[in-house]
Symmetry: C2
Subunit: 200 residues, 2 copies
Amino acid sequence: MTVQEADDGRSETQTAIMDATYRALCRRGYADLTMQSIADEFEKSKSLIHYHYDTKEELLAAFLDYLLDKFLAQVEVADDDDPTERLDTLVEALLSGPERAGDFQVAMLELRSQTPYVEAYREAFAANDEYLAGLLAETIRDGIEAGAFCDVDPERAAETILVMIDGARTRSVVFDDDDTVANVRAAIDGYVNSHLRRTE
Amino acid sequence: MTVQEADDGRSETQTAIMDATYRALCRRGYADLTMQSIADEFEKSKSLIHYHYDTKEELLAAFLDYLLDKFLAQVEVADDDDPTERLDTLVEALLSGPERAGDFQVAMLELRSQTPYVEAYREAFAANDEYLAGLLAETIRDGIEAGAFCDVDPERAAETILVMIDGARTRSVVFDDDDTVANVRAAIDGYVNSHLRRTE
């Protein structure tokens, strides 16, 4: 068993399949995604993909879990002690996303729009969201206890931030100019500054 | 020329085609939408649809314009003098949407996710958004002048509200329980109350 396996229960092959899925989604979007287009991005045999995942839907639900793990690995590196900085790190990481963010957000919005049709996607999105809401609420709660944030309802503030992040992602697909992304980021910072941060 | 034509430049037939498109989107979503599935919801001859719109894409871009007109007709009826009430009316109308809101939001999110592939959709979404941002900013500006709202940047506050509305719509597709919609609505009200409304 490799360190990778011990870490997140995903074998090296599975991780390579996930990376291939990421590249295929960035290249072709979701509507045109097939097991073959994922295999085209995968260095090993296509049969390995079928061995691990029976259907495209099963593979993509696993991919959503993989994204959450990647996100958590990314924000754990920062490991800020200060709740204000930690919230910044979380929001920044959620907004910026992985490399090729534009192409990838398009594919993710397509995938989200399919949640009413594919139960496995809906479950995976819902589980990710619940985890992120908990993480944000915990950070806000820490901030309130440390006196850095106002005495807001942590769960509600976390929900508000997630609503804005989902809105930012949706809008970034329709309006792909840099101005729009910067405006959306400013809107979220404005909310955090005026609603959460205790002014000195 | 009917009153309808004089009003919004849309003939009765075109309005009937738009209504048929709405029903087809609610019934089948966007991915399965064809000119035939719109014709199935249309009482007159299918050839009339082709006479007015060459392609599905052209028809759906016209449909997005039609939605904006319907929205404007809806909020104009209210015609609140008070900027606080007017903002409430706009947010409520943007959040609640038309009847069969759930099915319809699914189709709209599918359509939005196609904006990078279909320029006509991107243009129509962008034009609608610009109009709505202007309408919200104007209302907020009126509220500031009337002393009801704090001295915020009206354009930025309008953008923030639109980000939250887009987030709410995206989330309502993934989380279709009533609790989630109520939470999102509470999050937006919380922002408006704490950030915009001048407390007595």
